[in-house]
Subunit: 315 residues, 2 copies
């Protein structure tokens, strides 16, 4: 309304400057984008929505919101060992504020450039603030979650609990010094899709996924998909420095139940463990898969351990 | 919360029963779907969001909302002459009501089956009701909007104005008899993607798009993309029976400015017009493209005509 930009102006002014990358025969501006798929392998696709007030505060830095929205989607590609190619954006905005849009578009296109993924289309609509991104990647060697077997070793690609520990700070519920504030914002808005680890383990791992709902919930998905159970030993788990500032019990609850760290959880058959070790990756072995349907059982220094929180509840 | 289904239950119970179609190596349930692109041609992709209270009434029939959400996306594929393959769904819901979800999923999967497109993934989140769908299709012979030239004839694939005439009825602002009510709901929620026309004209047309924002606005997009202008003669335009029930001036305003009919507007070079005529399609020739940047000029029985409404404003 008035002098606010309409849909076509938004696309042209803020997003159509997106560089046209690999495989893009026709980018933003027609009814569809036209894309050239690689000759071999498979495409991998995923879609995630972030809603203001639920996944981020409505007044958060637009560049940070954009970075997180794209990074969580890229993490799904990483978890399948897929190389990013293209993405589409559905942006719903209460009003079209040019300053907000410029920051959002800059954050989005900067993240896109960093990961080599091209914005090829999307939609802008008026409504409560939310961002849906759909990514398409390419893989010659996909990492699925349904191929794990009993005896496989269970690994996590890095420390857990940072994003969950950061949440009260990001939500403005907890005041901290500027340095910790920055660490919290980085942990929450700039999760690192684990492409290098995924590429390194692709030929060794029997299953993998990214930890978005919490370690126990996500390892539970591997168990359910693969028809196995797991015994894990929490004293082996790498807990992030941000979570370590909390009481030990709380830190462990966040590391096992808090989502949003986007590290990988993956499994490697016993006979490939030596090969994995040879790679010298900074990954942590936390347990073993077993037969049966007992789900994920946790141990801490030899004692049974029960989680206070088992995963992120979307509703 | 409580006994309401969470994300994983929603996906499993309502959507994972989606039949796995052509090219789907791995469907719903992993970090990504894995897709096998056809060996030749190109992929076409588009994304559209419908927001409750803006694009449909929040209390509308969930099956009708689902049908419209998928059909408007399929229309973008039709407009590129792309055959539907796959789609992803981002569904944001204030609460997870099992009755609503069952109706929505039934409407969605029924529409998907009708058009031969497979649901391969998506996301469900809590928040204000909105639906984002992203479709991927395949084309060997894409119809773009930027290849029209001066002298080309301008066509519309069918009558216009039905969806705009139906809007007050759909919004509950106007009471009509049950028969007209049904016609209005069909016009608004069940637009017909013009796949047969697109396939028939693919080798003849210089440009095409679907009319989602209104004829004058969308023909304006062809003109802008192709660097031409247009003269159109409104007495030749097919006005839908639903719009014809209104005063003539109002009917013409809806047929030229109302969006959401999803007919095609396309252009054919002079030397291919005889070939088009031979196809015997029920399309309407409404004018001619000309050189210059005067945009879209309208004539009615030889007199200049100015539109009251030039297109749907997204903000």
């Amino acid at each position: 309304m008035g002098t606010a930009p309409g849909e076509f102006e938004i696309i042209r002014d803020f997003f159509a400057s997106a560089p046209v990358g690999e495989g893009v025969a026709l980018g933003i501006g027609d009814d569809c984008a036209l894309l050239q798929a690689p000759a071999s392998g498979q495409l991998a696709t995923s879609m995630d929505t972030l809603v203001a007030g639920r996944h981020f505060p409505a007044d958060a830095d637009p560049a940070a919101i954009a970075a997180r929205a794209l990074r969580v989607n890229l993490s799904d590609l990483a978890a399948m060992n897929a190389r990013p190619l293209w993405f589409t954006l559905a942006l719903t905005l209460p009003d079209s504020d040019a300053v907000w849009l410029r920051k959002f578009a800059d954050g989005l296109l900067q993240t896109a450039a960093q990961f080599g993924v091209s914005l090829v289309g999307g939609d802008t609509t008026a409504g409560p603030l939310s961002i849906t991104i759909q990514v398409i990647g390419h893989t010659e060697s996909p990492l699925r979650r349904d191929r794990a077997g009993p005896g496989d070793h269970v690994y996590v690609s890095g420390p857990l609990g940072a994003a969950a520990a950061a949440l009260p700070v990001v939500l403005g519920e907890q005041r901290v010094n500027a340095d910790v504030q920055l660490q919290c914002e980085r942990a929450f808005y700039y999760p690192e899709p684990q492409f290098p680890v995924a590429a390194a383990i692709a030929e060794l791992a029997s299953a993998a996924l990214d930890i978005s709902d919490g370690l126990l919930a996500d390892l539970g998905h591997i168990c359910e998909s693969s028809g196995v159970s797991a015994d894990i030993h929490l004293e082996r788990l790498a807990v992030s420095p941000l979570a370590q500032t909390l009481a030990a019990e709380k830190a462990m609850a966040l590391a096992t139940g808090g989502g949003d760290d986007y590290q990988l959880c993956f499994t490697v058959p016993q006979q490939r463990v030596a090969d994995l070790d040879q790679l010298g990756l900074k990954v942590t072995a936390i347990g073993t898969l077993i037969e049966g349907s007992t789900g994920v059982r946790c141990w801490h220094n030899g004692n049974p351990w029960s989680p206070a929180v088992t995963g992120y509840q979307h509703f």
